[in-house]
């Protein structure tokens, strides 16, 4: 049976306040649809015949279907069949959770995700062992790599059709689990972040996006890449930690953003187009599977750049980094393998097994 690929394309990513405060990108719906069409063409070229898609009413699917219809009417057969997941649309992150879970149950071989860190986080929460192929259409974009989506689609197709062996095609990723136990009623909330957890002292969620640093106290990252944008850049510029290393980094920032009280002052691109001066008190490695209890006793928690939860002195908060938490398609490795083995020539070299 031919492999089925799932697609989660978030129509509402890259719409937050950072467009106003920092000239952040806003990728148009029509562009997102075009990205999807390019991915679909690459998947079809690799032999993927059926794709499941998260339903949404933000317009992506309508554009994609129009593009596919136009191709069909010209007699071109370049796209796989597209099947929306049967589920109600709420227009919230719950749709991503639900769609991911449905696709996992339907046995998709991989999930192509269009969105920012937030969308990827929502997919990662539900995808289990299904590998993710991420395409950046969001703002922060520390997690998904920047790459032409056709290539991502191609790598996904090659991986799910078995033309690249799994140990090359897929790679393990880290995450940070956040556990919040409500002091009043004992209820527990578990959340996760793919890249970073930021603790700020303001306790309202507001416009969600995090772009101010004055209330910023603690930062936990799964990897610290000086090439990425967002709060994790702070960590990356202090002590790089690779995506493939075990463990992450924890950074404490000086109270009230006062750089004079800080041991170190750092200039970091905390949002697109936004360089901030932050005072750093100290930082340390964050080993896997060790629960960290923050010093901040009340505030809100930003997961991958968006404020999601708030907590008070009565609540108990802990953070734990997990290695090997979920899988992604290793596009670079797949494409290198495809090249080395001439997978896309008329007479491919037999796949070399290691």
């Amino acid at each position: 049976m031919a492999p089925v690929v799932g697609i989660v394309a978030n129509p509402v990513s890259a719409r937050d306040i950072r467009r106003v405060v920092a000239n952040a990108t806003s990728l148009q719906i029509a562009d997102r649809a075009n990205i999807l069409l390019r991915v679909l063409a690459a998947l079809q070229a690799c032999g993927v015949r059926d794709v499941l898609m998260m339903p949404e009413n933000g317009g992506i699917r309508a554009h994609v279907e129009r593009g596919m219809m136009r191709a069909r009417s010209r007699g071109e057969d370049i796209y796989p069949a597209l099947h929306p997941v049967a589920m109600p649309i709420t227009g919230t992150v719950a749709d991503t959770h639900r769609a991911t879970a449905e696709m996992r149950r339907a046995g998709v071989s991989a999930l192509v995700v269009l969105g920012g860190d937030g969308t990827h986080r929502a997919v990662a929460a539900e995808c289990g062992t299904v590998p993710i192929a991420g395409i950046s259409t969001g703002t922060n974009n520390a997690f998904p790599e920047h790459r032409e989506p056709t290539i991502t689609g191609l790598a996904t197709g090659l991986a799910v059709t078995g033309r690249v062996p799994p140990h090359i095609a897929f790679t393990a990723n880290k995450r940070i689990d956040v556990s919040l136990i409500n002091g009043a009623n004992g209820g527990a909330v578990t959340e996760m972040a793919l890249v970073d957890v930021a603790l700020v002292t303001e306790r309202y969620i507001g416009a969600r996006a995090l772009w101010r640093t004055e209330n910023f106290r603690e930062l936990y990252v799964t990897f610290a890449d000086p090439e990425v944008i967002g709060m994790s850049a702070i960590a990356g510029l202090l002590e790089p930690v690779g995506r493939d290393e075990s463990g992450g980094l924890m950074v404490r920032l000086s109270p009230d953003g006062d750089c004079r009280k800080a041991a170190t002052t750092l200039h970091a691109p905390i949002a697109p187009g936004m360089m901030a001066r932050v005072g750093i008190t100290d930082w340390r490695r964050m080993p896997a599977d060790v629960a960290f209890v923050p010093e901040v006793t009340a505030g809100s928690i930003a997961l991958d750049g968006e404020r999601e939860l708030s907590f008070s002195e009565r609540d108990r908060l802990s953070l734990t980094l997990r290695d090997d938490a979920f899988r992604t398609v290793n596009v670079a490795a797949v494409m290198r393998h495809a090249g080395q083995n001439r997978l896309l020539t008329g007479t491919p070299v037999p796949v070399a097994a290691f």
Binding site: R15, I17, R19, V20, S26, Y204, G206, A207
Partner: protein, 327 residues
């Protein structure tokens, strides 16, 4: 009492709640009284959308101008228009905000910077460009906010205004109140590009989408956008995704909605509930304090209705008055 974690002080939070509650109570009362046949004409209710008007208007002063829509009661109240004058206007009384000459769809109070509800969809957008131009010419740091529904966002005049505001770099904020329905037609069907941020981008200005049922989300995003406009940073678009508790107009059976849709949004997306639970949970405001406000608002609306019903009707001479300043 716990430390206040919000970007507004307690008094401001209470004021926001009072404004939202006043709008809700005002609209709920109109819903009831309209059904009784007490109110002439037709009315469009803002219930369910209170967080949007309030979250934005908390950043404005009387020098800032707003241009409203046919669904304008909430904007009026949030901008500080007198509730008694509004109620009297809706009842068509000579004590009304417009002396009974405008009605629900034309309530205005220029002294409060409220340039009028508007019966013509999309018409507020160019007007507010003019208000913003006036502020810019005077250099008084005033801003102009125009509200438009997802339906009227398809009006050519709205799109022309986006372009004009960008070209003239006017201190304008275009607020799209997206409640999902242009009268009865779904936004998803009627708006070709599907995203207001895309529309804004197409006109060379930033666009932001927020959850319009979350007062804090609206408040924070609007604050940034308004500050930017005030400082000369130019226009921007703010899309507030929100819900309409009643029909397009009173008497609308809303048969276009999905089964259970209304019940669901009332249960999960009531902006007043969301706000009050947030502030109570944070320990900043006690439930009793909110209940006190509820009682006061109730009394205010009750008094406004009583006064409106008792107020005199406009008389024959008023028919010919105020067509011109001089003629």
């Amino acid at each position: 009492m716990a430390q206040n974690p919000f970007p507004l002080g307690k008094d401001e939070l209470l004021k926001a709640y009072r404004t939202m509650r006043t709008i809700r109570e005002f609209e709920e009362r109109l819903h009831v009284d309209f059904a009784k046949g007490d109110i002439p004409g037709f009315v469009h209710l803002y219930a369910g959308e209170e967080a949007c008007a309030t979250g934005i208007m908390m950043h404005l002063n009387d020098n800032d101008r707003i241009a409203s829509t046919h669904r304008g009661h909430g904007h009026c109240i949030a901008k500080g228009v007198d509730v008694h004058a509004m109620m009297a206007e809706i009842y068509g009384r000579s004590t009304g905000a417009c002396r009974g000459k405008g009605g629900s769809m034309h309530i205005a109070d220029l002294s409060k910077g409220m340039m009028g509800a508007n019966g013509i969809l999309g018409a507020g957008a160019p007007l507010i460009c003019g208000a913003a131009l006036a502020a810019k010419v005077r250099g008084d740091r005033g801003v102009g906010i125009t509200f438009v529904g997802d339906g009227a966002s398809n009006q050519g005049t709205f799109l022309e205004s986006l372009n004009l505001a960008a070209v003239w770099n006017l201190p304008v904020v275009f607020v799209v109140e997206n409640n999902g329905y242009a009268e009865s037609t779904a936004m998803e069907w009627a708006v070709s590009c599907d995203s207001y941020v895309d529309r804004a981008t197409g006109f060379g200005m930033p666009g932001v989408t927020v959850d319009g049922t979350d007062f804090f989300a609206v408040y924070e995003a609007a604050g940034e956008i308004i500050r930017r406009a005030r400082d000369g940073g130019g226009p921007a678009l703010l899309e507030c995704n929100m819900v309409r508790f009643y029909g397009h107009f009173e008497g609308d059976a809303q048969t276009y909605r999905a089964k259970g849709e209304l019940e669901a949004i009332r249960a999960t997306r009531d902006c007043l509930t969301i706000l009050s639970e947030r502030v109570i949970e944070a320990g900043v405001i006690g439930r009793d304090e909110l209940q006190t406000i509820d009682r006061e608002v109730n009394a205010l609306i009750e008094d406004a209705v009583r006064a409106a019903k008792a107020a005199p009707l406009p008389v024959a001479e008023d028919l010919l008055r105020d067509v011109y300043v001089s003629y």
